[in-house]
Subunit: 300 residues, 2 copies
Amino acid sequence: MSVIECIPNISEGRRQDVLDACAAAIAAAGARLLDVKPDATHHRTVFTFAGSAGTVRAAVLALFDEAVRAIDLRQHAGGHPRMGAVDVVPFVPIEGVTMADCVALAKEVGADVASRYGVPVFLYEEAASAPSRRNLEDIRRGEFEGLATKMAQPEWQPDFGPAMPHASAGATAIGARMPLIAYNINLATDRLDVAKKIAAAVRHSSGGLRFVKAMGLALTDRGIVQISMNLTHHEKTPLFRVFELVKREAARYGVAVLESEIVGLVPASALAATAAWYLQLDGFTDDQVLENRLRAGDGP
Amino acid sequence: MSVIECIPNISEGRRQDVLDACAAAIAAAGARLLDVKPDATHHRTVFTFAGSAGTVRAAVLALFDEAVRAIDLRQHAGGHPRMGAVDVVPFVPIEGVTMADCVALAKEVGADVASRYGVPVFLYEEAASAPSRRNLEDIRRGEFEGLATKMAQPEWQPDFGPAMPHASAGATAIGARMPLIAYNINLATDRLDVAKKIAAAVRHSSGGLRFVKAMGLALTDRGIVQISMNLTHHEKTPLFRVFELVKREAARYGVAVLESEIVGLVPASALAATAAWYLQLDGFTDDQVLENRLRAGDGP
């Protein structure tokens, strides 16, 4: 069994008929649609689906069929930065596939999209063709409206397709990345300054752990504060290390951890690694998980 | 997807042709054979397989076909207590099934075995018809050689089948139980007395945690000692509580935990519960595990 997750974002969050057609196209391609999250304010929708490489590739192209036909960015305004009708397409390795497989898939799908729809494609994150193109924010800076000017510069030639944006569908970023874990830790205090100091201590941008984005915020209705985080590579910066570091920093202010929470989904391997660390498990491997053995191809 | 695990023990650990025929019969019935562990000294073999209720039921009957034909307990001697050609058949709920489903399956298979082979069946553990029959050790006490005398007593009538042992195949215990976790904790000391004291403190039989069996032993080649345990109900007596209690008891003797180990397989839910406890996860449910969502029947 090989499973890749794909979480495309499209620049449509209001017309239900368009979203229904996109969802139907993804399902008809054979992918397992896990979630559809429209945002009317941002005029943007996030689809989550999964399947084998072939299935996921077919589903992305089916989504382009609908989105390129239905969405015109010249008529689009919303709160979220965007440059394409299909704005961004990340592939995430889940089971029985490597990151290299997802990078290869991003390149195949990128070539398909450029040749079928004339939409220029920028590869990003693990699939990026240069370090300066790893960050989605850098690729998307200037948005749809600034794209023609940006793409006239030699350093912003796309990886696939024409050197100018598609008139109505703009350009698309296609890439490969690890699964994100949305992870929050609540502190038994209402001191927002403490939450902000801890967030600064643990996040990468201000000197903390490499694959952590964090901010401190107040949960005013509960009278407590929260370190709200995204963990962008749970194998290299694991859950338990983030939790223990936050707990230690909080103790320095005389504050206890009240609880933590995972928002949405978490890979089983992130939980198994956490259990193995706290239990000091020696020589533990994921194939000792009963369910993994049941699903593996091998017999005794 | 519904998965039941079955771990039958048969009284044959030497004749490879018999073991091969048993393994082939299990696989031919459609079950997924996960492990075969013969023990020549004990003259006994443990099979591990899994499948749906119907598949597992067919596989157990196929195993009886082979074992009742090939094994004669009048000719059998080995180190391990035993009373039947097929000695014991536990059913374990793994995924999408309840303990009640496994109890029902034990009763169905028990009735089948009695009527097809004339082998008396005692239901045990969660399937037991009386508290005095829960423990396998109590049912099996006296072994094959004492079975005719034992079964002459009114309190040892079988749950299914004749009130006397099968001439060559004896009797079989069939039941339902939680998955066992074989869990060891190694201490950074060579003091066997400390390991024995800690084992006594944490095991159920001497006043410790309800679903823990434990003994202290020396790993002489490494110069350390080990608390060797079986956890018989990981939901009610979870891994993390056992680990933390052993760690605390060891600290009382000035001894540190070196590492722990899981021998063989562990259910994913036992690791998820451990991660959730140490991370103080609030409101976490198993359907937040990405892999579980991929396998669930529901869409968005």
